[in-house]
């Protein structure tokens, strides 16, 4: 029998437009509006013309007064341009968590703690009315197939918070969209006819690429709002005075690598069993001339070394870490023995980084650093495959198999990953029972998951450094706790849209049908069950930290930031 073949047109970038209803008239209108009217369409390549970027990567949204456009602390993938009407940004103080659809932070009181003794007998996933009721200051309406959340008592908000109006032509949200950082402010519509253009990050990236004015405008905003404070907080720049820091800031180049929507792609590839490191975009090639240091601002990158016909992972680095400093410091000090980049750097998922050129490093940064802080000279440049990697690399600490396992599965994203040492775990499930008893008889994780050697990563929320689950939540129900940064879900504002459930690449979120306190399933007007997203909340409301970790009698389970391999090494060797 002849083999069956399915011929499929290769998927293209604009197969799915951001808004399928963007028509020619809307695009024409945009092209006549600043800043697009001043953009030179002929500078855009034929594959990504300006017109098509606007048609496919943008959409026009209308908001009524008081409706929230972006929330402070949310992760977003798009920027906004006010076309008509006005918006208002909340400056200080920030809106309280309840007004952003979040639950108030706080530990359980003594009575709620003790009440858990009998709450364990409740039916599964039963939830009190009190926990299901959103804050009275917040309203929600279904608008154009989207849920819009609005502030009920706007005059009071304006009275109690310092705000500033933004008018048509103003851009916002571009830094968060490009750098994958949380939004810094809450912005809501300030007129009933506010019309905004939302541009998804791919479109914004291309607009910046081919339009010098927009690029320099956004770079300038970036430098003004985010860069100076970031550089000041970076240890290697701590000895610089303001003038020197300004010079560094002026020379900084920004770059993004990889796919912003890596989670979906990764999930698909992981399910097909074809996650391949060689597909990851190269940031730095081993053997190239070191023309700058790389500072990771967001995301992760893999440090690798050529081995045989391929590459082996030596380490991975995350936000705040630096690549290439050793080589540039070596060349600065040993000018007669210059070396190239010793390793390659590849983006994993999405990586946003800053590059400080070698010239600025040599003229400004390195002379300011005390000798004790300078990296030591590279004694034996690794030009051949058979030379061992330096002692400091992660591969030596935890072994190649575990390192590849953590990298391939992207577990380094977790700041509180549930790690189980199978050599000590007696499979007693005390951790699961403890989790259930702290969550009214509902366990929030599965004591099972991928493993390598004696290490297992259980199926529990890892409270990611890059929380892709938070992208796209329409009500802000999934959010970071303001105190310690755990990713939690507010059941009162969760509408069961599955956005977080679908986004999570680690399958750590579950959708459950909820019940009332009597055990009856809650249903909507059409008798469909009400579903809510649930996941591990790291026992944020309980005293003493995660119950799972405290419940393990054999010290076999821990919650760990896997971006810190030293901690993992210490734990494995304890």
């Amino acid at each position: 029998m002849a083999a069956l073949q399915t011929i499929l047109e290769r998927p293209q970038r604009w197969d799915v437009a951001f808004d399928p209803n963007m028509d020619d008239a809307a695009v024409d209108r945009l092209l006549a509006t600043a800043p697009f009217s001043s953009m030179q369409a002929d500078k855009f390549p034929k594959r990504t013309p300006l017109r098509e970027i606007l048609r496919n990567d943008a959409r026009i949204l209308r908001f009524r007064k008081g409706e929230i456009i972006v929330r402070q602390g949310d992760y977003g993938t798009s920027a906004f341009l006010i076309l008509n009407g006005a918006a208002r940004v909340v400056l200080k103080p920030d809106l309280p968590p309840a007004l952003l659809g979040r639950r108030a932070t706080g530990k359980k009181g003594i009575w709620r703690t003790l009440a858990q003794i009998w709450n364990g007998w409740r039916p599964p996933e039963s939830i009190s009315n009190e926990r299901l009721t959103p804050d009275a200051g917040l309203g929600a309406r279904q608008d154009e197939a989207e849920v819009r959340v609005f502030l009920q008592d706007l005059p009071r908000v304006l009275d109690q918070h310092r705000t500033e109006q933004m008018k048509s032509g103003d851009f916002f949200g571009e830094i968060a969209a490009l750098s994958r950082m949380p939004r810094t402010s809450t912005i809501f519509a300030d007129s009933d006819d506010a019309e905004l253009l939302e541009i998804r990050w791919q479109g914004l990236r291309d607009l910046m690429k081919y339009d010098d004015a927009l690029r320099s405008h956004i770079n300038q905003i970036y430098k003004e709002r985010a860069l100076a404070s970031y550089l000041r907080a970076t240890p290697i720049f701590q000895h610089l005075d303001k003038a020197q820091l300004d010079r560094v800031a002026e020379a900084v180049e920004f770059a993004t690598f990889g796919d912003y929507d890596w989670s979906g792609e990764y999930k698909r590839l992981a399910q097909a069993g074809s996650v391949r490191p060689e597909k990851e975009p190269v940031i730095i090639n081993e053997g190239d001339y070191p023309n700058g240091i790389v500072l990771l601002r967001a995301g992760f990158a893999r440090v690798c070394q050529k081995a045989g016909g391929g590459e082996r992972t030596l380490n991975y680095i995350g936000a705040g870490q630096i690549f290439g400093l050793a080589e540039i410091a070596h060349n600065w000090r040993a000018k007669d023995k210059p070396i190239d980049y010793q390793y390659s750097l590849r983006a994993i998922g999405y990586t946003h980084l800053l590059i400080i050129p070698t010239r600025v490093m040599e003229e400004v940064v390195l002379p300011s650093m005390p000798k004790s802080e300078l990296p030591s000279l590279v004694e034996s440049p690794q030009k051949t495959d058979d030379l061992p990697p330096p002692e400091s690399v992660a591969r030596d600490k935890i072994g190649g198999e575990v390192l590849e396992f953590l990298t391939e599965n992207r577990f380094f994203n977790g700041t509180a990953t549930m790690v189980i040492d199978l050599d000590r775990c007696t499979r007693c499930d005390d951790c699961v029972r403890a989790c259930a008893s702290t969550h009214d008889n509902n366990p929030r994780f599965l004591r099972h998951g991928p493993s390598a050697g004696r290490l297992m990563i259980a199926n529990a929320c890892m409270h990611c450094a890059d929380p892709v689950c938070m992208i796209g939540c329409p009500t802000g129900a999934i959010h970071r706790e303001s105190f310690a940064g755990q990713v939690v879900i507010n059941p009162a504002t969760c509408i069961g849209c599955k956005s977080c459930f679908n986004n999570c690449p680690y399958d750590a979120i579950r959708m459950v049908e909820v019940r009332d306190e009597a055990g009856e399933f809650l249903v909507d007007q059409e008798s469909k069950p009400i579903t809510k997203a649930t996941k591990c909340d790291l026992c944020v409301e309980n005293w003493g930290g995660p119950a799972c970790q405290r419940a393990c009698p054999h010290g076999a389970l821990t919650r760990m930031n896997l971006n810190n391999l030293d901690a993992l090494t210490r734990w494995l060797k304890k």
């Binding site: 050599d423 499979r427 099972h448 493993s451 060797k573």
Partner: protein, 272 residues
């Protein structure tokens, strides 16, 4: 292993020191103090209560009562120390009367089951990790059924054409795949059964046709998977089952101890 070794050294030193201290006190005071057995009895009872409270700590995991790892360490070393206290309380003599014998037997069984549990929980997890194929205990029956269905389909299903493979399945594999097997063999790490079964598959394979060889290769994989499931079941069962001895006996011991206290006070005129 640095932390665990440190825990072990500290625990052992504390145990040895406490034992020496108690034995010294016993030698010095057991003839001098008139209420000596009351003193040792209450001490023994208090340590038994602390040991039992570990189980309550597990059930009250939402309260900040310290981590379970520390509790277990205390449980282990205090458990050994309680054996010393028990011997001191008996004045290193055998119990007298049937009630005391029951009490002593229960104490011995609780202590022995605890030691067995400690031994199992220190050695079996490593064997499970080394074997691989990690599986949740509750999922084993479903996985076993899936393996059996796959093997059945391969051997006697509508597309199966080999009577040799069908006969081998019916004779040797059907029962093997239908229920847990070789629990004791797995506990003692014996692979004789698996090797014998795979040898039979290899024998058939040598003389089989191409399609039979393909089917037998697949069956060999399923046999190995089933054996791994049985291995996990046997070891995980052992890791769970000792607690079903240790905990009920503990509560039995506590009831008899309470009765013992009542009897002692009832027949002695109260504590003096």
């Amino acid at each position: 292993m640095i932390r665990f070794r440190r825990q072990f050294i500290i625990g052992m030193l504390a145990l040895v020191a406490a034992t020496i201290g108690v034995l010294w006190l016993h030698c010095k005071f057991h003839r001098l103090l008139p209420d000596y057995s009351f003193l040792t009895g209450w001490g023994l009872f208090a340590s038994m209560l602390v040991l039992t409270f570990y189980n309550a700590r597990k059930k009250l995991s939402f309260l900040p009562l310290g981590n379970s790892e520390l509790w277990l360490q205390i449980h282990i070393y205090l458990g050994f120390f309680t054996v010393v206290l028990f011997a001191v309380h008996l004045n290193f003599r055998l119990p007298q009367g049937w009630f005391d014998w029951i009490l002593a037997t229960l104490f011995a069984l609780v202590s022995a089951s605890g030691v067995v549990g400690l031994f199992l929980s220190r050695f079996l997890p490593r064997r499970l990790a080394t074997r691989g194929g990690e599986v949740l205990f509750e999922k084993i029956p479903a996985l076993r059924h899936a393996l059996r269905d796959e093997a059945e389909e391969l051997s006697v299903g509508p597309d199966a054409k080999s009577p040799v493979v069908g006969e081998f399945y019916t004779r040797r594999l059907a029962s093997f795949l239908s229920a847990p097997q070789n629990t004791w063999r797995h506990l003692v790490e014996s692979r004789r059964f698996l090797n014998a079964l795979l040898a039979e598959v290899e024998d058939l394979r040598r003389t089989g046709s191409e399609s039979e060889r393909t089917a037998l290769d697949k069956l060999a994989v399923l046999i190995r998977q089933k054996d791994t499931l049985d291995y996990h079941r046997a070891l995980q069962l052992a890791l769970k089952i000792w607690l079903f001895v240790h905990i009920p006996l503990t509560y039995g011991l506590l009831i008899f101890t309470a009765a013992h206290i009542v009897f002692v006070f009832g027949f002695s005129g109260g504590a003096r």
